[in-house]
Symmetry: none
Subunit: 197 residues, 4 copies
DNA sequence: CATGAATGAGACTTCATTCAT
DNA sequence: TATGAATGAAGTCTCATTCAT
């Protein structure tokens, strides 16, 4: 048994350390900023040398990229899904709903993106993240609609998106708050659609 | 004559250089991030040595602070004004309206703040900027209102605030877009108020 | 007077430090190899921080390049001169003679090149140095000559070139040894020419 | 069967891997320099981890030493042979002839030595290689001869030695070129001897 | 007002090496 | 035999900052 356990733990250790690095890195990147966070800092919290990080990742940016990919996957799937749906109100509402749900898990990533935009812009990954937001924005909007409708659609997305970060302070259950934000978002989309007709 | 001219022009030139430093610095901070922007970079664009900046400012952070203060002033006045008004719907709407107007001039500052949050957090100035947003949020909200109303109020502020940065892509006149955003914001505040009653 | 001296010494200090860096760097590069020499090492001998080197040079390679350019100049002039002469025996002998003289000053550079070829190959400067040798080789050779003549011509250049580094051990005055090497080189060129006819 | 085969193949495979490591290492050391070549690089080309190299060699330097010993053996034998011969012209010519032949196989080693001198100097092995050249030089020279004769003898060795590396560019069969170089070398030795008398 | 020169701290990165498995 | 994981030393470079001139 002991042998079996040891044998099983060996390949796990790597994945485990990798994951732990990503975890700690993401937290630090969010709390202290990507540029301001040093690898030594991350390594110290993990109880390893900073050289050890280079066994698991090729560079600092590589750590960030790996984190972003892991967390951004669901959003990408959502965008891909949205691209294949007809551009109806129902689609836009469904999109917003799914986005709201996906955001629960991806929130840290987006917070990271939002709080480090300027620095990330020059990193290859920066473009990718911005692209995701742009893609969502495109799917939510109706290009031919009047300005008022456009603004309403934008507001719907902003409400769900930024609300996820801004409403920490508000009392109440997180899930409840998310539903309230989503409710308002859906309402705004419906109103935008009504204006469009 | 030469002497007199020099004597007279000195304080002007000095103030002028200060302003030019702030201008260039703000642009770089926004475009490339506060941490990523080096003083050498700023100095080079101004055609001086980076050591020269220290004649006008005590430190890199000092440049940032001076910029933030200059641009943030109007917002502070707005908050001060709001604090002295009764907490009525009219006040909240007036606040949002004035904020929308102030944002036109202060937009660069807020973009800087938003895109460098993580880094600014540890700088004394970071707190100040976040405080402003928090203060506005507080003034816009009605603490005892139900969650739906709170979310609506939040959305109103987010629409006006983030819309100012996010709606670049949309076609149309900037001022027109601002008014559309403000219009929706006011509507949301009104609806929040109605729910509250 | 003291003032004048000080005023004069200020602009000199820079050129002086630059030169001293080049001097020390060249020595270390030759003695311990380019890759194996650390900037800290050079700085320590100069009594400055290694960061100071970066005030005068943009990179380690930049130091090497600047040294190579300074020492390689005369060789370049020689090649340019040779390119404009007719391809006679006299020209080739004159070329070898001048090369032998130039080598006295450029010897350290060529020793550096020779002893670090493998590493320098990937540095942009490496190509440049090899190009110089190739150009000289081309000027010394007579393309249409039979193999024996070619070998003699090559040998003439190798004798003068490598002899400058290899004959340290031999007793005798350096200038005398140089003349002996050159004498043999000229003889070999003449013999090559005779074979060619 | 499987067991027997494995048992039998193990020492062979081991020797084989050792040889492959030496082979790849030598090539990389020559092409990219000893210092600049990393063990990871070598291991990657061999399809193993860099840690695996430590099963076959104790250190990076150990790889180099083993390579040098393997390739340098014939030269050592030649020197040993030369030490026991009388110091006649015939001996010196025979020495040069044998050296020219040995060089064909040992060329890679000498190229490595020549192109990495600076780095090798501080490695114990560096001395060894330089010693070989010095020993050859000593055997070729006649200490009491006049400078002209010494230079001729040196030139003979340099012609054969450096010619082996420098005459790549020249057209013609390699063996033919080698013979031409040797021919000139022998001639130079003879002329040196004539001068000596 | 501004520059030239230098510093000290710290960042990312690479490498040879070790050791349990 | 070889790998996965980690280490510690070292290296190059950048930056904000200082100070005499």
């Amino acid at each position: 048994m002991a042998t079996r356990e040891a044998a099983a733990s060996t390949p796990n250790r790597r994945r485990d350390t990798r994951r732990r690095i990503q975890e700690v890195a993401l937290r630090h990147f969010i709390e202290r900023g990507y540029e301001t966070t040093s690898l030594r800092e991350i390594a110290e919290e993990l109880g390893v040398t900073h050289a050890a990080l280079y066994y698991h990742f090729r560079s600092k940016e590589d750590i960030l990229v790996s984190v972003a990919e892991g967390l951004g996957g669901p959003i990408d799937e959502l965008i891909a899904w949205g691209d294949q749906q007809p551009g109806t109100l129902r689609t836009r509402q469904e999109l917003l709903t799914r986005y709201s749900e996906a955001l629960t898990a991806a929130a840290p990533l987006f917070q990271l993106m939002q709080e480090n935009q300027a620095v990330l812009r020059k990193l290859s990954i920066g473009q990718t993240l911005n692209d995701r937001v742009a893609a969502l924005s495109r799917l939510i909007h109706v290009p031919e609609a009047p300005l008022e409708a456009q603004v309403r659609a934008s507001s719907a997305l902003m409400t769900v998106h930024f609300g996820a970060f801004s409403l920490y302070a508000l009392p109440g259950d997180a899930e409840e708050k998310r539903k309230a934000l989503l409710g308002l978002g859906l309402e705004l989309l419906a109103a935008a659609d009504a204006e469009h007709r």
